[in-house]
């Protein structure tokens, strides 16, 4: 069933939802962007609907709610590892289909790979309920339709914020109980049906083709272009990699924490072992590793999907204007070449 709340009723609705949920949405940070007078929109806890930004693509992905850029794993006191604590209150997270689908991708790694369930991820995932945002923010970098991530049914309720009202389609019955004071209406969420940008996914038939593609000269052009800054993977909806780091608080050698910090396969040092040895030394090697993870290796392991939801954030964030959709085209062309050689 669908319900309508007027602007005047919004505060009451928010208060009611807050009793049950911590509410998260994209928030604008003014002038915090990379260039003068540009903003950053990233996820955080909101205390009124007005704080959320519902009609623009967030600079950073929703994943940060579940797997923050940095988080404490253990606190050290004397000779003890004390697990970091976390609230158990359910969270309501406003998110678009691409970001919701990205969580399915992340879960395959965090909550399954090798039979190990990451406790820090799982305890957040158990809290999460999605409030679907219709996507009205697609730009020429988005290609969710090509990736099949433009729709989802993984949400408690769909929301539409109009100039004078909030429309809600409650899918989950427990959630519906919270909003049934609203006036009945016939709102149904709409999904993006077509993007300006479309991609053809590369087909890599066997190991031989894969290794030929790895050796293809196409990757070398990134040596001059990509500066290995890692902005693309930090902004990525699906990237999961992290590094574990121990830190000491100030001058006190006795207390500190073990911390998890986002890491990037694009940045030097990702593979460095004691003695300084490392793999994938050039920017081209690193780009190849990232692209093949997203469009071959992940699927080879987990079967269901590729490791990209077509959100385009990597394109938006790259200071060198490197576009993943253009790189996909180059991969397809290289694969054509490899096929002809056979």
């Amino acid at each position: 069933m669908s319900y309508k709340f007027t602007k005047e009723e919004a505060a009451g609705l928010f208060a009611k939802l807050s009793e049950k949920f911590d509410i998260y949405a994209p928030i604008r940070f003014k002038d915090a962007g990379r260039y003068a007078e540009t903003d950053i929109i990233k996820y955080g806890k909101i205390s009124s609907f007005d704080e959320g930004v519902y009609n623009e693509k967030s600079t950073y992905p929703m994943k940060e709610v579940l797997s923050p850029i940095q988080q404490a794993l253990f606190y050290f006191t004397e000779d003890e590892y004390r697990e970091s604590k976390c609230s158990t209150k359910p969270m309501l997270v406003f998110a678009r289909p691409c970001d919701i689908n990205a969580m399915k991708v992340q879960a395959k790694i965090y909550a399954g790979n090798g039979g190990f369930i990451d406790m820090y991820y799982e305890r957040m995932r158990e809290r999460v309920h999605y409030a679907l945002l219709e996507c009205n923010a697609d730009d020429d970098t988005c290609f969710c339709v090509s990736m099949g991530t433009n729709t989802t049914d993984d949400y408690d309720a769909a929301f539409r914020f109009t100039d004078d009202a909030i429309l809600i389609d409650a899918k989950d019955s427990a959630f519906e109980a919270l909003v049934k004071d609203g006036k009945a209406c016939d709102f149904k969420p709409e999904f993006v049906k077509e993007n300006i940008t479309k991609v053809t996914l590369p087909v890599i038939e066997d190991k031989e083709t894969l290794n030929k593609l790895k050796a293809h000269p196409m990757w070398e052009q990134f040596n001059g272009r990509c500066i290995s800054c890692g902005a693309c993977t930090i902004a990525c909806s699906t990237c999961t990699c992290f590094t574990t780091r121990d830190i000491i608080y100030g001058d006190n050698q006795e207390v500190g924490e073990r911390r998890r910090v986002s890491a990037s396969c694009q940045v030097d040092g990702f593979t460095t072992v004691a003695g300084g040895g490392s793999y994938r030394k050039t920017a081209g090697d690193k780009m190849r590793f990232k692209m093949l993870h997203k469009f071959h290796d992940y699927k080879a392991r987990f079967k269901d999907s590729d490791m990209c939801v077509g959100c385009g954030r990597c394109i938006n964030r790259c200071p060198e204007l490197i576009s993943i959709t253009e790189t996909l085209k180059k991969m397809n062309a290289a694969l054509e070449e490899i096929k002809k050689e056979k």
């Binding site: 794993l73 253990f74 050290f76 000779d79 003890e80 590892y81 697990e83 790694i109 965090y110 790979n113 090798g114 190990f116 369930i117 990451d118 406790m119 799982e122 305890r123 190991k207 894969l210 290794n211 790895k214 999961t240 990699c241 992290f242 590094t243 574990t244 780091r245 121990d246 830190i247 000491i248 050698q253 500190g256 073990r258 890491a263 396969c265 990702f270 593979t271 460095t272 072992v273 004691a274 003695g275 040895g277 793999y279 994938r280 090697d285 590793f289 093949l292 993870h293 071959h296 290796d297 992940y298 080879a300 392991r301």
Partner: protein, 263 residues
Amino acid sequence: MFNPIQPKPCKILSVKHETELEYTFRVEYDIKPDHGQFLQLSIPMIGEAPISVSEQGDGWLEFTIRNVGKVTSCIFEKKAGDVLFLRGPYGNGWPTEELKGKNVVVIAGGTGVSPVRSLLNYLYKTPGYAKSVNVIAGFKNEQSILFKNDLENWKKSFNATFCLDNEEKEGFRKGMVTTVIKELPLKDWGEDYAVIVVGPPVMMKFVGLELLKCGFDEKKIWMSFERKMSCAVGKCGHCRIDEVYVCLDGPVFPYTTAKNLVD
């Protein structure tokens, strides 16, 4: 909720100096790993490091550690009675079933001898498990020789050749382990053999090539990989090559898989 990365405090029972840079720590631990598996050792405020089990017994494990950096140097300051934090075991270990009744070849270089030590000692204590055991172990020089007592035992029971890269010493041959491979009696073994290889990446590469050149079947060779690891439970991504996670699917890989893994 179960936390797979929660380390457990464990008491150090003894510390043995193998070389100036390599010590063997015997640590209290209840779980029995498979030969070739590793654990995450840590010191609060410093960090974690993946370390192979070099020997195991009732209620204890041994780790032979090379002092190379932050975590390892802090471990080197520990004495018997001190505490180390452990979690694991992780990884797959050596294919012990594949070795049963076979002519087993073990080729190891330097610190690489430590992940095969518990396996070799098991074969030493279990005559008949393998048809024959052939060990080729190489060290850089006299100062870097590890596990002197074990080497003595292996020499007695196995067909063993020990090498020093470029030094003369009684009981050792001067030269690389690769030079010994052609002397193995492969012709007498028919199909009945299995080879395991562990050591620095260059050593493993050349050993692999030499084995193939001498007619060994790539399907009967296994290698242990070392990659940067941060979690050891398939989450952090540091150890991944293609669709393979070295911490989960390795560190031991059949040569047929290993040769296709391009970093």
